[in-house]
Symmetry: D2
Subunit: 284 residues, 4 copies
């Protein structure tokens, strides 16, 4: 069964659900999922609708123009149309810490993550053997203070060649440039190892230890130019105790990081995320 | 703002969302919430839609017949229509254990629970003073092996006089009869102090202790004639350790019970629950 | 069964456990609980030991001097000795929000909180009736910009008259002065309605909403002169979603607040908390 | 720093902690961790003590006999003495489902699991490449109705040759025989994909789906001859909703399984587990 997914936002007004569902029905669409959200303060309406393509009487390329003409223009809609095929193409950036990477590769291997992974890019060669055992190409692009711009150019070329749709920073220990980010707006997912907005920046487990918190967390978010300030996709937490030293916080936290990141990837892949300013709507 | 809530179930087919939303729009309804669920195995479609009544051009009593005629008959729908006014009338049954009762009364006092509470009925007099301090009438109806039927008759009369819509068994330590249950089908919510289906029946904390589980739980469910087997509305759990004795399991568990029961009540009051056979759909 | 509880801290060195347990055994003490913690960075040792008093051959007043002489001096120990009788005397400060107060009163009524509660002090009269129905004296002391010092003097006099051991700020919407705090060092427990250190200060639920976090929390901590910066005793969290408005965050958060505060009170009452600088050791 | 760990059980009586800690101190032991538990109903005392070996004045082989003579006999103790070197040798049994296996291998690769893994044994060849990429020997031993006894003999020979200390059944889809289990009493850890004692036996996710539970779980336990009835080491849960079909329950559950199993392995490796009858004491 093939699926189309429509993401809509527009000023809130009556009749939107009726018109969208009428449109889908008029072309013989079987709605599988429909979710809506009204942001009362903004006066904005958001909607996600998924339907079966097999019986649908419009061709893939006809849908968007026809929808804009019949429905979108009238409601001043901002529209995104996705299909669940071909699979989105995801690149993974990693450094030496392997826990998030292996978690993603494991899920992919088990058929739980509906993406193609054309590459893992790392600034260290360490994880090459295992990545390749999973059948994924591995590119080692070292990054230094002096070659950073060239490295990003190299990365961008590989990403373009492989038509990568979005990037996952799986504990990639480099800050990516604003220029790089602008190539992938709301299409770079980072995992930050704290419960944001607590402990922004470097060494959050050390900061959590110093403050004596009883719970630590991790935050998956879209990367924006302001560090650790992008729209939050998912957060998870774990309990810690006074006897846990920093090494143990790191270890407990890594379990949280990998679960949080994998959930965020899944929401992104299933087109369940709408980023609106600094926040996200997650239609799960 | 007044609200109407429609709960629908029917055989799954195309066009249902379109027709329901067209109906609401055609009478100038502003949809606030819409959720749907398809049970693929059963081939059944379930939907909840809530909309503002203030601008709606049909009167309260016109809605259901008009909807049945225009939409319901065509899709063979089973329909329930609710309004969020007047508030549902909830009776609480309790014995001596006060934790669930006080939790409910506290929420009600804080304006978090949109119900009227015309009565607390108890088979013990102990909690009378505090219940009345919350401004709620308290009825002591003792229950013994010999007077059980008369007691239920007395209870049913009070419930009828006060036009009670649904009943919460807040650790009411009596088994209610099948006859009593049939007066309130899927309208009696019980809290069972285990993570069902584990530890059905009496003394679940003792059973949990004997088995050496590491997590205990509580289950809020609609009461059916088979003990502890009704549709589950909500479950919650808490971690326990080897050093927790049964008294501590009870205490830890009571916190879980009250949270679980209050969530279930809230879902029920907001008409977010559809019971289907032995299961529930919760549109939260 | 009566119980004595010893809390010790001293520079880490060998033989401490041996000497403490030898001391208790030599006077026929039956150890019920023993926990230790070594802070490797500080080079400090912390210990909690609880034992049965009934068979103990030292009188209540003999224990501390004898322990200091036989054990404490040798290891340069800082020692606190508590007994589980008479019960600690706890005052509750509250404003209008009742959820934490009612949760505490409910637990106390159910026999789950081993304290005496000689008073509830509030800057508003609203909760008087219910507090008194629980059999607890209620004092209304209004606080304004101009009478704040006098109000605290009044409060301190009541606390002294009733020999109050510690204070719980159960959503008391007034900042207590440094002078007041110095009367109860590490003996005032506050509940802050955020997951500290995120969202320090006023209106944390609004701040959480603005940031778009996916999890909110509450923090129980000892009050120090720096706002929301005292040693954290307990934290809890709850999941929120994009559709939760601020009123819903408040409601979800209040459930977290009351559970967190009650856990912190319990740890404090059972003498399981050692505050060390800005952190706590919780021997649960 | 090398570490010794003593696990003791004996009838409860006074002076045990004093005597154990005196013994360790008298040979210049620095206690790192000490935990105790009294089972009041059984009248039994349990203790775990860990201390630094480097400064200890008894040799590795002298400790146990000396301790038995000086302390153990007097209190009728059952004693186990472990060292944290050499690392315990763990075999992993797996079938086709890879999530638990990869999680373990990932942790081991990251240095989080202090074991040697001399072998992965599988009744299917599928996971060979990836296991070997992690540097772990892989043995394919197919199991059929007719060769089961021979297969176990083969397994036992490999386990003996490699001096394996304990076995992890990482979703190994075969029932191991009583004879096999008797070679590794309380040294085979299984992960069952339900929250035991709910849904014992085959296809627990199907059973959970049928019952309409709102939370699913996983249970790590020692394998005993009665199916799914051995001492529980760890349990975890995850929330599910009415719209999750069985495939989704499986996927959500697999995340719970791998976390639960890895925690259980960690407790076992760190000698924090004491199995007593059908229950465990976990000194974490």
């Amino acid at each position: 069964m093939k699926k189309a997914i429509l993401l809509i936002q527009c000023p809130d007004q009556k009749g939107i659900v009726a018109e969208v569902s009428r449109f889908l029905y008029s072309y013989n669409g079987n709605i599988l999922e429909v979710d809506q959200h009204v942001d009362v303060e903004m006066g904005m309406f958001f909607m996600r609708a998924a339907w079966e393509l097999d019986s649908f009487s419009l061709g893939k390329d006809e849908i968007l123009p026809r929808f804009e003409q019949e429905v979108g223009q009238r409601f001043s809609m901002e529209i995104k149309l996705h299909f669940d095929f071909p699979k989105p193409r995801m690149a993974i950036f990693v450094s030496k810490l392997s826990h998030c990477l292996f978690d993603i590769l494991g899920r992919h291997h088990a058929g739980q993550l509906d993406v193609d992974i054309p590459m893992v890019i790392s600034n260290h060669p360490d994880l090459k053997t295992i990545v390749e055992a999973f059948g994924i190409p591995f590119f080692h692009i070292s990054v230094t203070a002096s070659n950073k711009e060239a490295a990003e150019t190299h990365q961008l070329r590989l990403l373009a060649e492989q038509r990568v749709d979005f990037i996952v920073l799986a504990r990639y220990m480099q800050i990516v440039s604003g220029d790089f980010i602008r190539h992938f707006p709301n299409r770079i997912i980072n995992i930050h190892h704290s419960f944001l907005p607590a402990f922004v920046g470097a060494r959050p487990y050390h900061a959590a230890f110093e403050r004596g918190v009883k719970i630590i967390g991790a935050t998956a978010h879209y990367v924006t130019e302001e560090l650790d300030a992008g729209p939050i996709i998912e957060q998870e937490v774990a309990r810690v105790r006074h006897h846990n030293n920093i090494a143990e916080l790191v270890q407990i936290g890594q379990d949280v990081e990998k679960v949080t990141l994998s959930k965020a990837i899944k929401y992104h892949v299933e087109r369940k995320v709408m980023a609106v300013g600094n926040k996200t709507i997650i239609f799960y």
